[in-house]
């Protein structure tokens, strides 16, 4: 039993092997996707069509004229930007340097814009409302990804993000309805997530039960309980149990008047503003404080952390709870932020996409935010394109996060390395 905590030789070997072979993967993938963009988005389609992007909403203070570009030319130029980045990445790799994160993000932006130009050719899309929809879909993903990160940074895999989101959505809605106060509901949300996380922590950290099994089972348990109570109470007695209402959107003076991004970022509900604060705090706490150092030490090398006097399982337990509370807050966004009432299975797999966002974001808060935004964007875009007529079926757009994540964990996109002791119980010898 005590051997469990020693680092498995296999992973060290594969890691070494991966470092050698993975060297060229990022530039190669950039090149492949860049060429793909050039051929499919730029060279293949007929010329002569235009893509129009609206930049302002009707009630914005500063109105901007929509931008209209010739689809073919714009797509070709953006694809060339992608190929340029691929060439730069190749040069960097040749010099033995790592491809920086901002380069990957720029590549992603250029690729997405090329795709967008191609897919709206001959019609119009409002960029502002597309971004608004993106943020709306990303909020729970970001909370969920932070939840997963809190656990995995200490070495506890949390597959129960979905359950924690759902529990937060359920309890916040119910409490807000019963008390008649949205703020009390908002306080109840993290408590719900915390309760689910507590079960996870007790089973995995205290009793050393397999983390993934408990996570999977907890998802089913929360699903069962919320569905059961929904058909028993929330659906027949809607007035008392399921009419919480929604938080109003708050406009932040000045900031909300910035063109394009102003109304997107600063005309939101309180939950979104909490999210901004939480992301910044999480980043600072993880990478700039003593607490963060300890947390990361526990995930990377629990034995060393223990030797240095850190209570490994104590840290893990607390972090899983913290993560649960964050996911619970994210759940409240479904009921109190977006819809205004609870409906069964309303999280609809967001917890798993959040897991994917955490992995794509390489276990960092900022990275997770960008990954979540990308996934939210893809999700929002498929519904927008469904209306104006999309060249590719919406199901394939929805697949993007999952496919990207498989590419990522298989080492095809960027370099991804989870905390070394992720998923392994720590038994003191």
């Amino acid at each position: 039993m005590t051997q469990v905590a020693t680092r498995p030789a296999e992973s060290r070997e594969t890691e070494a092997a991966v470092v050698l072979t993975r060297h060229w993967r990022t530039p190669i993938m950039f090149g492949v996707f860049g060429l793909l963009a050039l051929v499919v988005f730029g060279l293949l389609p007929d010329g002569g069509r235009e893509s129009t992007f609206g930049l302002s909403l009707r009630d914005d203070a500063i109105q901007l004229a929509p931008i209209t570009v010739p689809s073919k030319l714009a797509a070709i130029l953006l694809a060339l930007v992608c190929l340029g980045i691929a060439a730069y990445a190749t040069w960097q790799t040749y010099l033995g340097r790592r491809v920086p994160l901002w380069l990957s993000i720029t590549f992603g932006l250029a690729f997405v814009l090329a795709f967008l130009t191609w897919s709206v050719a001959g019609s119009e899309i409002s960029l502002t409302s597309a971004l608004q929809g993106t943020l709306a879909l990303s909020v729970p993903l970001i909370f969920g990804a932070l939840c997963g990160m809190m656990g995995e940074r200490t070495g506890v895999i949390n597959i129960a993000i979905e359950g924690q989101l759902l529990a937060g959505a359920f309890l916040s809605g119910v409490v807000a309805s019963l008390v008649g106060n949205l703020w009390v509901g908002l306080i109840a949300a993290p408590i719900a997530g915390l309760l689910v996380a507590w079960v996870l922590a007790v089973f995995t950290v205290r009793y050393f039960v397999n983390q993934i099994i408990v996570g999977v089972v907890l998802n089913v348990l929360v699903l069962g309980v919320t569905n059961f109570l929904y058909s028993r109470l929330l659906s027949p007695l809607k007035e008392t149990w399921n009419s919480p209402g929604r938080f109003p959107r708050l406009e932040i003076p000045l900031l909300s008047e910035i063109p394009v991004i102003g109304p997107v970022l600063f005309h939101q509900t309180i939950i979104v503003y909490i999210m901004y604060v939480v992301v910044v705090l999480a980043h600072i706490a993880l990478f700039r404080t003593r607490w963060g150092l300890r947390v990361r030490a526990v995930g990377e090398h629990p034995e060393a952390a223990d030797t240095a006097g850190i209570q490994v399982n104590e840290v893990r337990f607390r972090n899983v709870l913290l993560g649960g509370a964050l996911a619970g807050l994210g759940g409240a966004y479904f009921t109190l932020g977006a819809v205004g009432l609870f409906s069964p299975e309303m999280t609809a797999g967001a917890g798993f996409i959040a897991l994917a966002a955490m992995i794509m974001g390489r276990w960092t808060p900022i990275g997770a935010v960008f990954a979540a935004l990308l996934f939210g964007f893809a999700n929002n875009l498929q519904s927008v394109l469904g209306i104006i007529g999309s060249p590719i079926p919406s199901e394939f757009m929805l697949m993007a996060p999952y496919l990207l994540t498989i590419f990522a964990v298989a080492g095809l996109v960027g370099r991804i390395r989870p905390p070394a002791f992720n998923g392994q119980p720590y038994l003191k010898s």
Partner: protein
């Protein structure tokens, strides 16, 4: 679980030891505890009980009666729906609930075996859901899209189901073997991809039923349908197919070289490597075979139970499969037994919902609680004050391998 020690005991002694030191006793107590908590949930949310609780202190007997009435009517309806219906008109009708139980258990056995086999090789196959979906898709395509003679058609369709699941599982195993990517993440993502793929296919000409707005496929041809045993129940030949799969899994694990390799890899991949076993190849193989068994479960759903393909063809089967494999301690026989239990719960819950209005979702609660309690023996022992100590099976078996 010390297998060496128990091998030297007689069958009777071993059975007694199993019963007293964890194993069976623990399982039974876990089921009991889960059912009890389920009952609490039923009672607490019952409007009748809430009504009488308002005047509890003036007439407490009313509340107690309402509590008893609420819980016992729900569970007796569940029993009637799962095992024997004593109010039925004839002996044949009285046994229909049992046939329903077997119908629900059929896909669970196939999918549960998929998870159980992977467990033995030290892999967590969360992807049974996707494997069922792709298996069902291919089996359905052969079932309604091809024209073949009766017996050949069934065989061909089931084989297509096996291949579909096997390919989907094999992809996950292959990625794990080649890149070391965590199989849990890969299989979760493949589940979602499979669901979206099926949703897309059902909008295409090839799969869509003509004149239907809903995304459902045509009915499978009569020559490809798994024959049903008797009227009034959907129980079909698929039960024997998955039972054969269980026998095959048993043979594979305990009598074949390949199964020995799987178990060696599951126990200790480094030792297995030293002994000349290719860990990567074992991962791919076990996910291929396991995925295939889940695919057979999908085939039995589309060719037997439902008769056509829809997005809800797999329901929650893939996740039930995980709990079934855990409850069955990842042995083929245990998986079959656990599938029967969960099949009974499911069949009973349908009747319970119809008769008492108790939502069917209580099954999910009870199922997940059973597995939680089984996964944490110290917890159940504490509740029932059992003193005997035995190692937690799951913590030890798959605990350290999820890196």
């Amino acid at each position: 679980m010390s297998e060496n020690a128990s091998n030297e005991l007689t069958v009777g002694q071993r059975f007694f030891r199993e019963l007293t030191t964890g194993g069976t006793a623990l399982t039974l107590l876990s089921i009991l505890l889960a059912m009890l908590i389920g009952a609490v949930l039923i009672v607490v949310s019952d409007p009748d009980v809430q009504g009488t609780a308002a005047y509890f202190f003036s007439r407490p007997t009313d509340t107690l009666l309402a509590i008893w009435e609420s819980a016992s009517s729900a569970y007796s309806a569940m029993f009637a729906g799962a095992i024997i219906d004593f109010d039925a008109a004839s002996v044949g009708d009285a046994l229909i609930p049992l046939a329903d139980t077997l119908t629900y258990a059929t896909p669970l056995i196939g999918a549960g075996l998929a998870v159980a086999l992977a467990f033995r090789a030290g892999l967590l196959n969360i992807g049974a859901q996707g494997q069922i979906l792709i298996g069902a898709t291919l089996a359905g395509l052969v079932g309604f899209g091809m024209d073949l003679p009766a017996v050949v058609h069934i065989g061909f369709a089931v084989l297509a189901g096996f291949l579909g699941g096997a390919i989907w599982g094999g992809i996950a195993g292959f990625i794990k073997a080649k890149t070391g990517a965590h199989e849990v993440i890969v299989t979760i993502m493949l589940n979602h991809i499979a669901a979206l793929l099926l949703a897309y296919l059902l909008t295409t000409q090839l799969f869509r039923r003509e004149g239907q707005a809903a995304p459902i496929s045509p009915f499978v041809a009569d020559s490809a349908a798994l024959p049903r045993f008797f009227d009034g129940s959907r129980l079909h030949l698929g039960l024997f197919v998955v039972l054969l799969a269980a026998v095959y899994s048993w043979w594979l694990l305990s009598r074949s070289t390949m199964g020995f390799r799987f178990k060696a890899v599951g126990h200790n991949p480094h030792a297995a490597t030293t002994a000349g076993i290719s860990v990567g190849r074992s991962y791919t193989a076990v996910m291929f075979i396991g995925g295939g068994l889940a695919g057979i479960a999908g085939a039995s759903q589309v060719l037997g139970t439902e008769s056509y393909l829809s997005t809800s063809i797999a329901g929650e089967l893939g996740f039930d499969a995980i709990t079934v494999a855990l409850l069955g301690r990842s042995s083929p026989i245990g998986t079959v037994a656990a599938s029967l239990l969960f099949g009974a719960l499911r069949a009973g819950a349908v009747t319970m919902q119809a008769q008492t209005g108790t939502p069917i979702d209580i099954v999910l609660v009870v199922q997940s609680l059973i597995v939680l309690f089984i996964a944490a023996p110290p917890l159940v022992r504490a509740v029932f004050r059992i003193k005997v100590r035995a190692a937690s099976p799951m913590a030890a078996e798959v605990g350290g391998k999820a890196a």
